[in-house]
């Protein structure tokens, strides 16, 4: 079920984030993810940061052991890929506000590209800890999105969490949809802001993944399995779940605070 691919291109996007490109033929849609096997290490769910054509890509932020090891992967390395799995962002709305925190931009960039190609007007609120960590700032600008930047340390754009620019954007512009991906506390905040303005809102969430086939229950989120019914959910549905922005499950299935 896995295809062994060879990394053909490696881009250090930020000090803590790397993009790996590899040939992988199966059709994919923005929002979908693949299971990436790093032989001898682990297999991780990764959204496709490049979904079009035969050269797919993933963009990995160093979090723990494996994602840190991924930073050292060079071209020529072989990976096992299965998928794509999960659902996608609907690219049909004409005015889209994208809110990306941390590695969230990896998940949202291909959707933004497809929406713009379809004639949508896209605004991106892009947040990071510091300027050097702003992911895909260039890519969003090049594709024709309007980009508003925030950094925790104020080294670029507005100082503070990305939500500081979301509220004014929602207040001053009309949007048909909000897409968000990043820390769940942030996504929850964005979901509430969108709801207050009556704008349809979708978020891509992360949970433990093992099978990615809707079987093992590792990714259970309320009544949903993120690997099949997600990772993209209407935030109206997410806001109904007590665990959204509050807790996830660890690999043993224990509920742990986010």
């Amino acid at each position: 079920m896995r295809t062994i691919v060879t990394v053909q291109e490696r881009v250090a996007e930020t000090p803590s984030t790397v993009t790996l490109r590899f040939p992988y033929a199966p059709a994919a849609a923005p929002g979908q993810f693949v299971m990436v096997w790093i032989p001898g290490d682990d297999e991780l769910p990764m959204s496709l940061s490049y979904t079009e054509g035969a050269s797919k890509g993933i963009t990995v932020k160093a979090m723990g052991g494996t994602s840190r090891n991924v930073q050292r992967i060079e071209t020529g390395t072989r990976l096992g890929i299965r998928g794509p799995y999960g659902n996608q962002f609907d690219p049909s709305p004409k005015r889209i506000l994208i809110v990306a925190g941390g590695s969230g931009a990896a998940v949202l960039a291909p959707g933004a590209e497809r929406a713009i190609a379809g004639g949508a007007k896209v605004t991106v609120a892009l947040g990071a800890t510091t300027e050097a960590e702003l992911l895909f700032r260039e890519r969003f600008a090049t594709m024709g999105a309007a980009v508003e930047v925030t950094t925790d340390d104020g080294s670029a754009g507005a100082r503070g969490y990305v939500t500081v620019v979301v509220e004014p954007l929602l207040a001053t512009h009309a949007f048909d949809a909000v897409w968000s991906c990043g820390p769940e506390i942030m996504m929850r905040k964005v979901a509430l802001l969108a709801r207050a303005r009556g704008v349809a809102s979708y978020g891509s969430v992360e949970r433990q993944m093992k099978c990615a086939l809707g079987m093992c229950d590792a990714c259970a989120l309320g009544p949903f399995h993120v690997c099949v019914e997600g990772p993209v959910f209407s935030t109206e549905k997410l806001l109904e779940l007590p665990e959204f922005g509050a807790f996830k499950r660890d690999p043993a299935g224990r509920r742990v605070r986010l």
């Binding site: 096992g80 086939l213 009544p223 399995h225 299935g253």
Partner: protein
């Protein structure tokens, strides 16, 4: 429509299709989901004494629609935290069977006692996971240990005890007989078969644990043989497991001697809707073959004159 409700091991089931342990069984909400989708009862993930993260990924290899290989490594939140999940399932009215795994009779008995307090209606003993050192089939393939463990558990809990039998043994029916001697109310058979996949490009086993367990349609003929042979050896009810994907498969298990069945891998191939579809197929098939009740089919193939 044929009557699908059955009694098995003293438990009343609204239909004979149980959610197999390890599928959708880690979270209470998922157990509720399976119940709402039409399962006759739900079996929890096998729970141990302590939280276990399971093995690193890859933990799964899938073969089209005919088989699945897994070595999850018995991930579970541990018996202390897990009762909150059961409470959610019971709150929704589900018939819940609690599965536990331990390393010896005393650990099994302790776990079962704790599990019994949660309000489950029966306990299933995982004596059969093929890929966990010191657990599962490592002890479950020895009839003496099976008997001892079942006896310890039946003494410790007032609930029906179901012993889940491994097919990775010379004489699975002998293991079922040992469970019966130990006081089991029923046996379930089978768990997965010890199996392996190798990635030839990477020159290594696919699963991090290397060896895993094979499930899905590929093992149905093997599960049927085990149920058949167990039926010829024991009098307690049998729950058939392994590769069920259709109402016809269920009926094969019933005719081989099962009173109820468990469904696992098909959920990965089809989604939880499998329960509703298979239940409908079973009902129609029973009807068309002249069975008024699912329970009438149990063991039917044993009485065929040669």
């Amino acid at each position: 429509m044929a009557e699908l409700s059955v009694r098995c091991a003293g438990i009343a089931l609204r239909n004979p299709l149980l959610l197999a342990s390890g599928i959708w069984g880690e979270s209470g909400e998922s157990l509720v989901g399976a119940w709402k989708a039409g399962a006759g009862g739900v079996i929890t993930k096998s729970i141990g004494s302590f939280p276990r993260p399971g093995y690193p990924n890859p933990t799964i290899e899938s073969y089209d629609r005919w088989g699945m290989l897994n070595a999850m490594g018995l991930p579970n939140p541990g018996i202390e935290e897990y009762p909150q999940e059961i409470a959610i399932a019971l709150g929704a009215g589900a018939t819940v069977i609690g599965s536990v795994f331990g390393g010896d009779a005393a650990e099994f008995a302790n776990l079962a006692a704790a599990m019994a307090k949660t309000g489950v209606c029966a306990i299933e003993l995982n004596l059969s996971c093929p890929h966990a050192q010191g657990y599962g089939s490592e002890i479950g393939s020895d009839p003496t240990q099976v008997e001892e463990i079942v006896r310890a558990v039946t003494r410790a809990v007032p609930l029906p005890v179901i012993a889940k039998i491994t097919p990775n043994a010379t004489d699975p029916a002998g293991l079922a007989a040992a469970a019966e001697r130990g006081g089991a109310a029923a046996v379930s058979a089978i768990n997965t078969l010890r199996a392996l996949a190798i990635d030839v490009e990477l020159r290594r086993p696919v699963l991090s644990h290397r060896l895993g367990g094979l499930s899905g349609p590929a093992i149905k003929p093997i599960g049927l043989a085990c149920v058949w042979q167990i039926r010829e050896r024991v009098r307690i009810p049998i729950i058939g497991v392994g590769g069920i994907a259709s109402g016809r498969d269920v009926l094969e298990y019933l005719m081989a001697g099962a009173s109820a069945v468990e469904i696992g891998t098909q959920v990965a191939f089809e989604g939880i809707g499998a329960f509703g579809r298979i239940g409908r197929e079973l009902s129609e098939l029973l009807e068309s073959l002249g069975f008024a009740r699912a329970s009438d089919a149990t063991g039917a193939a044993h009485s065929a004159t040669s």
